[in-house]
Amino acid sequence: MKKLSARRRHPLAAVVVLLLALAATGGLYAAFAPAEKAQADSSSQSLAIDEGKKLFAVGCSSCHGLNGQGTSDGPSLVGVGSAAVDFQVGTGRMPAQQPGAQVPRKKTVYSQSEIDQLAAYVASLGPGPVVPTPDQYQPSEDKLTNAEQVAKGGELFRTNCAQCHNFAGKGGALTDGKYAPSLEGVDAKHIYEAMQTGPQNMPSFPDTTMPEEQKREIVAFVRNTNDEPNPGGLALGSLGPFTEGLFSWIFGLGTLIAIAIWVAAHTTKAKKS
């Protein structure tokens, strides 16, 4: 990890990033250029792979090996697919900062176009889950269909996800300091990719056992839970009876005892006034 941050501070790093950014702009232009679509696609694809390879060499190879074959510090990326890269780098987990039980989510280091290039490069190492398109992961905008998706997603979530991530997606503890992270504020795309690829210790839920439609329903449920109102008042972290107990002691009993002190106290005597 130290090696990585050292390299990021290399005098030439800025130049490399600038070049990459220029290349990415070009790549994007090529991607959206209307003329000769097919040809542009394949050429932009290979361009992206090349740029990705360069980015990879600078930012990732110290742990994952120059060709993504893996080292003692990081697993092989052959066959993890572009979705895994998009998730890991897109949520800021990669590049990892320090060793620990688990690599946490943090601020993203790379821009989305750089992530796309890295993803393209890693995808070229071996076939794997592909970054999903919005129509794969976006729940329906239609209110009724969406509600249906939320209901179905809720049941799927309780079967497949709640055991680790808690009924409201607040996350929970795993063994030896590992944890299932909170799903609050996570992009629909990243939730979908996590299910597809199974990052870190999370198991994957491939299309063969959980079809695309069902993943979309789960995304719909999580998003609904994230913005859901709390009809009863403060959700107290949606952590169940533990925080409710704390609240009843501190706020409930605390207030009542304060009132009891007032009720029982002797009224101020006139002498003191």
Binding site: A151, A173, G233, L246, G252, A264
Partner: protein
């Protein structure tokens, strides 16, 4: 009513000796008295004296939250369907639309979203339940640390203890009723615990659930237990508890004019009617406001119970948290006994420690009175510092409870403090044995320190903060002597002598060996009151000597 006034008593009938009532109200009271004898009852109680202290109102918080629970509980039964029949939800809460669930769960969701005010009443019911048990806990601790459980109140202590235990269980049954994912997990845990009972476990399980888990009987049965059986017993105990409080008259703190033979305070009518009556509304008001601002048990978010689904952070309500801690920190011991039968010690041992933890505090009054050999009535409360061993034992018990509570919430502590659940569990395993011992010694020292400070205060007065320079240059702080009232308050407590072993020979000179029991008792008594376990309180001779020497200082 006209007969009641008895104005036209016939000449043939014996005339009532009672004077003519002054008004309608008196007439009505006379009528009732003629049937119920209320005047004699009121004579002793209408101007009954209650001492003023905030800690004496903790019991009232329990009483009032219990009343609130009954009121709201009755309302909830009007809408709740205690049935495990399957239904498909099509109510107004869309995220559950089309989901299969039990009638119990569906009706709870309906109470929350369809019945206007239903959510509020549900939340008041549940918040009041948490406050109820918490208040009982604090009330019990107040009684414990002040020694208010001593003769003649031991039986009332037991009534209170039973109320606390029944409160635990009624709470558990209550939160099991909605049949949501969390409560179902709790029932499943209970099933597993029952199965761990040797020999009869499977039978109890089958009889309780009416077959295999979960079956369709458990919620209706829990409903009856929750709304009828346990509250009925509790109501009886509560009435007995209150009658005894009236009968014994309240304890009081030491102070000028307060003795073992009197009780000083304000009369029930009018002061305590207004204060205690008003306090009911204050408690209800606070709990209603709590229910307006904070969600409790959002069953709609948990989803309906399915035995193959679970959410992490599965915890019971706080008062069962210590049982959860016991079961979590236990190693997985399972042994074979008697020709291949299985004894699941990993569950059975916690199941046995659970009542032991509670009974340990319940029997304490009897242990203390046995150790001290004190058979007198006590109405003046001890300050916790003046009973260091008792206070230390109580603190140790609380610390044990807290360690177990932390063990019961180890997953949440792990995620919120970035620790490993394994580490926390190992800590609890050690802490279960070590923390109470440390707490005992620390608390005892602390009490002794406070006793020393009291002694200083009595002998040398209160520190005034004023520094005076003596003629020969020495700086001293001026101490203001205490008033006689304060001196009395600080020195009026008793300091029992430790028991001594009965003489080795009786009055006839026949050798009589002291038994093991007598020896243990003497040892314990020494531990309670022996050297180093209390600081001798100042005597008036000491005081007079110091104060008279003041001028020559």
């Amino acid at each position: 009513m006209s007969t009641a006034s008895g104005t036209n008593s016939g000449a043939s009938k014996p005339a009532s000796t009672r004077a003519k009532p002054a008004n309608k109200a008196e007439a009505a009271a006379d009528w009732v008295d003629g049937r119920l004898g209320i005047y004699s009852l009121a004579k002793a109680n209408l101007r009954k004296i209650f001492p003023d202290h905030w800690s004496f109102m903790l019991g009232e918080i329990c009483l009032y939250s219990f009343i609130i629970i009954i009121l709201t509980g009755v309302y909830l039964t009007l809408f709740f369907k205690p049935s495990m029949a399957e239904t498909v939800y099509h109510g107004s809460y869309l995220p559950l639309n089309g989901i299969r669930m039990s009638e119990a769960y569906a009706s709870t969701v309906n109470i929350s979203f369809e019945v206007r005010g239903g959510l509020l009443i549900r939340q008041i019911h549940h918040w009041a339940a948490l406050v109820f048990v918490a208040a009982m806990f604090v009330h019990m601790m107040r009684v414990f640390f002040t020694g208010a459980f001593r003769k003649p109140r031991e039986i009332n202590w037991l009534f209170g203890f039973l109320l606390l235990c029944l409160g635990f269980f009624d709470g558990f049954f209550g939160y099991s009723l909605p049949d949501d994912l969390l409560s179902g997990t709790g029932i499943r845990f209970m099933e597993g615990a029952i199965l761990a009972v040797p020999i009869v476990g499977t039978y109890i399980q089958m009889f309780l659930f009416g077959g295999e888990f979960p079956g369709t009987d458990i919620i209706p049965r829990f409903f009856t237990i929750h709304v009828l059986l346990i509250p009925g017993i509790m109501l009886g105990l509560l009435v007995a508890h209150l009658i005894l409080v009236f009968y014994h008259k309240h304890t009081q703190w030491a102070g000028p004019g307060k003795t073992e033979k009197n009780v000083v305070g304000m009369p029930l009518m009018p002061v305590y009617m207004a204060k205690a009556g008003g306090f009911f509304f204050l408690v209800f008001g606070i709990i209603a406001a709590m229910s307006a601002i904070a969600t409790i048990n959002p069953v709609w978010a948990y989803g309906p119970y399915r035995p193959d689904q679970v959410s992490t952070d599965a915890q019971p309500d706080w008062y069962m948290g210590f049982a959860e801690g016991l079961i979590r920190f236990m190693p997985g011991w399972e042994i074979s006994v008697w020709g291949g039968h299985t004894l699941n010690l990993g569950v059975f041992i916690p199941l046995m420690i659970f009542p032991l933890v509670l009974v340990a505090i319940a029997v304490y009054p009897f242990i203390e009175s046995w150790v001290t050999g004190d058979k007198r009535e006590h109405h003046i409360l001890d300050r916790p510092r003046n009973a260091p061993v008792r206070t230390a034992l109580g603190a140790a018990w609380i610390s044990l409870y807290l360690v177990l509570l932390a063990g019961g919430g180890n997953d949440l502590i792990a995620t919120h403090l970035h620790m490993s659940i394994n580490t926390i569990t190992y800590f609890v395993r050690v802490g279960f044995f070590v923390v109470p011992v440390i707490t005992f010694f620390v608390t005892k020292r602390w009490c002794l320190g406070l006793q020393r400070r009291d002694k200083d205060k009595v002998l040398h007065g209160r520190e005034s903060g004023i520094i005076k320079r003596l003629p020969h240059g020495e700086f001293v702080e001026v101490h203001t002597p205490l008033s006689q009232a304060d001196l009395h308050t600080l020195t009026s407590h008793e300091q029992p002598e430790p028991l001594e072993l009965p003489a080795e020979t009786d009055e006839n000179g026949v050798a009589r060996k002291a038994g093991v029991v007598a020896k243990t008792r003497t040892k314990l008594s020494e531990g309670f009151y022996g050297e180093g376990n209390q600081i001798a309180k100042p005597t008036s001779e000491e005081y007079l000597e110091i104060t008279s020497g003041h001028g020559h200082h």
